[in-house]
């Protein structure tokens, strides 16, 4: 077995370049575990019951026969002289298998089966480039064991298990949120196993089986010398071993784990890092949560699977509200309408929607309508040979994905897209294509944002004076949080906004219908008071400002002109038509700057899957 040559990083920039090239391809594996290990501690001492993936057979035997340390351990004398800096970072990247294979079963049992006072808490141990995380769980009170030890009676008790731990081995540089998630899964499995142990000694039985196979294989190796991995033999005999293997395999691939411990208790778990990715990097769960909290009632839920497929995945005892929601939801319906149609309150809808998004079963979009403008996502895979291209060709025969995507190179509204230049394609199919592309995060939607910026005055031009401070610094931001926004009129997903009569209009403090009444003038003045003198002058000098109606509308909407609220949001909150707003923007264009870009709140959900 060759010993590794350690290269120093000083001056060896080429290896650093190679390293980052390797790590580019290995980035996905930072979120996968390297190994899953089951250890116990009991009256028979510490035991490693099962580990997966299996060690290579050669490593197995060598640790028994010679007094050999792991080939990847540092040599005491050799390396201290060569590498005085003692930099522990890996120079030559080891494969995942090699990282954990170097640890023998016995040493793992020693270090992973902790003392009982570490039970019930997160266990984290890092050794060089491997990080172990688990949740050691106590099965019996240690005192019961002590009693049987001091009891001199010849009647021997059955060997009892005191504690156990399901441990995941990860690369040491795994993201803290990944480590946290793995710990969570370990804890969930532990809870299930603890329950089943108390109910019917499930764990003790499985442990007995595993140890028996291990003993058998050791005996066989000693007699006829042919090395075998005991864990391979354990798999067909122990359901628990198969469950652990399945958990490992799922974590490495889809990130969705569903186990049935003892064919009875369900343990389900998902690793958001595998499900939500942006251009090769995972989305941190905190960012995901922030986005989920910012969903508004005018957003819509787009399912990523067909209704049938999704319903088939649900457990038998799932909530009926979830089923109702899945059956009623649609890409053209916003969440508020969904609440009405599914007969649930909005808070429930939000919670279920967040749940579906977290599990990667749905994404948040703006409801589909004529005026939606879409553009190709910067993360979209437009390769001719991508699996997406193939799937598209199968779903929509006669059409190819790159040609469709090319149409969205320039922002295109849905109505423009539906205008069939190619009469052979049916309109309905075009909409299906857009939905298909949205589901695969190939398109982003652009919204219009408006910002108030008044031309600077003549004196001292070019210097940044207080007037040019952003509005937000002077005016306290008026945040429109989700459920309370419900009272603001009733939105529709299409552009067909019906104006409520002014007496029902409760979006801002407008009390009287139109006209140049003193009260209205006062209202306008108050709203404009937050501006500086210079700004007010400039605005009042605009020809459109001579119309009290227009000025009042402008003043009322002033707080939206900070570039954080898009057109559709203003329409929803203020119960206004798109055409009204656009006209207003045009009239006051000398003090407004307009731009189009994606909505940062939901752009997180427009990230592609790997």
């Amino acid at each position: 077995m060759a010993t590794k040559q350690w290269e120093t990083t000083l001056g060896e920039r080429k290896s650093m370049y190679k390293q980052s090239e390797n790590s580019f391809f290995k980035r996905g594996e930072k979120t996968s575990p390297i190994s899953v290990i089951l250890v116990t501690s009991g009256s028979r001492g510490n035991k490693l019951l099962f580990r997966y993936p299996f060690q290579r057979v050669a490593d197995c035997t060598s640790s028994l026969t010679t007094k050999q340390r792991s080939p990847y351990a540092l040599n005491t004398t050799g390396d201290v002289l060569e590498d005085p800096d003692g930099d522990s970072r890996e120079q030559t990247p080891l494969t995942d298998q090699q990282l954990v294979a170097g640890f023998s079963d016995i040493i793992l049992a020693t270090i992973l089966a902790t003392k009982s006072d570490m039970c019930g808490k997160k266990f984290e141990l890092k050794i060089d480039n491997v990080r172990f995380v688990g949740h050691p769980t106590l099965l019996q009170h240690p005192h019961t064991i002590q009693v049987s030890k001091t009891d001199p009676s010849p009647k021997r008790e059955m060997p009892t298990m005191i504690l156990f731990s399901v441990v995941f081995a990860l690369r040491a540089n795994a993201d803290p949120s990944v480590i946290s998630c793995m710990h969570n899964l370990s804890r969930r499995i532990a809870i299930a196993l603890q329950h089943e142990e108390r109910r019917c000694q499930y764990l003790t039985r499985e442990a007995k089986l595993m140890l028996a196979v291990q003993d058998e294989v050791t005996n066989m190796t000693e007699t006829d010398g042919s090395p075998q991995s005991p864990f391979r033999q354990i798999l067909p005999k122990c359901k628990l071993a198969r469950d652990l293997k399945e958990a490992y395999d799922s974590l490495c691939t889809t990130g969705v784990v569903r186990l049935h411990i003892n064919n009875w208790l369900e343990v389900s778990f998902c690793l958001p890092h595998k499900i939500h990715r942006v251009g090769g990097n995972h989305v941190p769960p905190e960012a995901l949560e922030r986005s989920l909290k910012a969903i508004r009632p005018y957003h819509a839920l787009l399912l990523l699977d067909s209704e049938k497929a999704l319903l088939a995945q649900l457990p038998l005892d799932c909530s009926p509200a979830l089923v109702r929601l899945i059956k009623t939801c649609s890409a053209v319906k916003n969440l508020q309408q969904l609440a009405q149609d599914a007969d649930l309150n909005l808070l429930q809808i939000f919670q279920i929607a967040a749940h579906l998004v977290y599990w990667g079963k749905a994404i948040i979009v703006y409801p589909l309508c004529e005026n939606n403008v879409y553009m190709l996502s910067p993360h979209a895979n437009i390769s001719l040979y991508s699996p997406l291209a193939e799937a598209f060709g199968q779903q929509f025969p006669g059409h190819d994905l790159p040609s469709m995507l090319a149409k969205f190179s320039l922002p295109l509204s849905l109505s423009e897209f539906r205008n069939p230049l190619d009469a052979s394609v049916q309109e309905a199919q075009l909409i299906q294509m857009v939905v298909w592309m949205l589901q695969r995060r190939l398109l982003i939607q652009l919204h219009t944002y408006v910002c108030l910026l008044v031309p600077p005055s003549e004196e001292e031009p070019g210097l940044l004076r207080d007037e040019e401070l952003p509005l937000v610094a002077r005016v306290g931001g008026r945040s429109l949080s989700t459920p309370s926004a419900l009272s603001f009129g009733s939105p529709t997903s299409s552009d067909d906004m019906t104006l409520t009569s002014p007496s029902m209009d409760n979006s801002s403090a407008e009390l009287l219908p139109g006209g140049d009444s003193p009260l209205n003038r006062r209202m306008t003045e108050t709203l404009l008071a937050s501006l500086t003198e210079h700004e007010r002058q400039v605005i009042l000098n605009i020809p459109a400002a001579q119309s009290p109606e227009d000025l009042r509308m402008f003043a009322r909407l002033l707080h939206y002109f900070r570039g954080h609220h898009h057109l559709e949001e203003i329409m929803y909150n203020e119960n206004m038509r798109r055409s009204q707003l656009k006209t207003l923007f045009d009239k006051f264009r000398s003090v407004l700057v307009v731009t189009n870009h994606e909505d940062p709140v939901i752009s997180l959900f427009q990230s592609p899957l790997e």
Partner: protein, 357 residues
């Protein structure tokens, strides 16, 4: 066992983690970090075998203890280094096993603790001829791969850096990093091999000295990102931006003009178009620096062209570059064609469509 400060580790904690401190042979010389009872212990157990020791071996471990929530990656090289030094000292002069010199360990540990916590660096005099120097080094993320069509641009004023501290390759290419030359061009003009330039720039990228933008051309197309609003919200970005983009020798440009210019960048609009439409706003603004700043701060992003050959004869070869994976920038760099040449070639080919993203 010696502890500094005495009371920080309880008896119970030590009992619990003992197995990770003085370890079995298989774990020796490995950096071990264990978290228990609200504390994190980082150590590196060492074993020196020799007949002179009772039990024929000396086992020791100098570790650091922190709060469980601390990020300890930066401390690991220090622990490893210390274990190496102590091993050498022991082998050379029996530093740890000798009763007399053993006493020096406590004050050394105190100094270590104090100075590391205070300044992040420490100097430990061991005896007349030996001193250990230690420093906490910030851990940084792996840098991206640098492509030949990427353009490095300094994030701070170039003159802030003492050139002699950099390696020879970097010194040679420094003059050519102007935020407009791409890697291939730098390699050609500085007469340095392409891969060396890539590595040197990647090194600069790692330390945050440069960032990467794309090649500038008047035919380029850009569009705004949601981050463009930070120009309005963040006073410091405003100041920095206006200072950066104002033409040399002119009065500082005003925010409204600059913001209008950025918002004037839309899909389908080239920089040339922008210049003709917003000539008034550009009186005091350098459009190249405007684009450069916008890209550096992610206020705007570049829309690249990707050709895709969607139909082809059965007999012709499958497309190598026109697959949707390679941008115009990349193709021009690799083949030596200019944009115009590539455009002309592709426009006449009915089998090729172009996607912008």
């Amino acid at each position: 066992m010696k502890k500094v400060p005495e009371e920080y580790i309880s008896r119970e904690l030590f009992d619990t983690v003992q197995v990770y401190i003085i370890t079995k042979p298989e774990l020796q010389n490995k950096l071990i970090t264990v978290t228990a009872m609200g504390k994190k212990l980082i150590g590196c157990p060492v074993c020196i075998e020799h007949k002179k020791y009772s039990r024929n071996a000396l086992l020791f471990n100098l570790g650091l203890v922190c709060d469980a929530r601390t990020k300890t990656c930066a401390l690991e090289p220090i622990v490893k280094k210390l274990s190496g030094y102590l091993t050498t000292l022991e082998l050379e002069s029996g530093f740890i096993s000798n009763e007399e010199s053993k006493q020096k360990l406590l004050p050394i540990m105190s100094t270590l603790l104090e100075e590391l916590n205070a300044t992040g660096a420490c100097t430990l005099p061991i005896d007349e001829s030996n001193t250990i120097n230690l420093k906490l080094i910030e851990q940084r993320r792996d840098p991206l791969i640098v492509q030949e069509y990427d353009v490095p641009v300094f994030t701070q004023c170039k003159d802030h850096f003492i050139k002699s501290q950099w390696d020879l390759t970097t010194q040679q290419i420094l003059a050519y990093i102007d935020g407009f030359r791409h890697i291939q061009k730098i390699s050609a003009e500085a007469d340095v091999e392409l891969n060396l330039v890539r590595i040197a720039v990647q090194n600069l990228l790692y330390y945050g000295v440069v960032t990467l933008v794309s090649i500038f051309q008047y035919s380029n197309v850009y569009c705004t990102t949601p981050t463009v609003q930070s120009l309005i919200d963040d006073r410091s970005i405003q100041e920095e931006c206006l200072n950066y983009v104002t033409k040399k020798g002119q009065k500082r440009a005003c925010l409204r003009d600059v913001f209008q210019l950025y918002c004037g960048l839309t899909p389908g609009t080239t920089v040339r178009d922008l210049c003709s439409r917003y000539s008034q706003q550009l009186q005091r603004v350098d459009e190249r620096r405007l684009i450069q700043y916008g890209l550096m701060k992610a206020l705007i992003r570049r829309l690249q062209k990707y050709p895709v050959k969607v139909t082809r004869d059965e007999r012709s070869r499958p497309p190598r570059l026109y697959t949707g994976c390679h941008s115009y920038d990349e193709i021009c760099c690799k083949t030596g064609m200019s944009y115009k040449e590539l455009d002309e070639r592709l426009e006449n080919d009915p089998n090729i469509i172009v996607c912008w993203k």
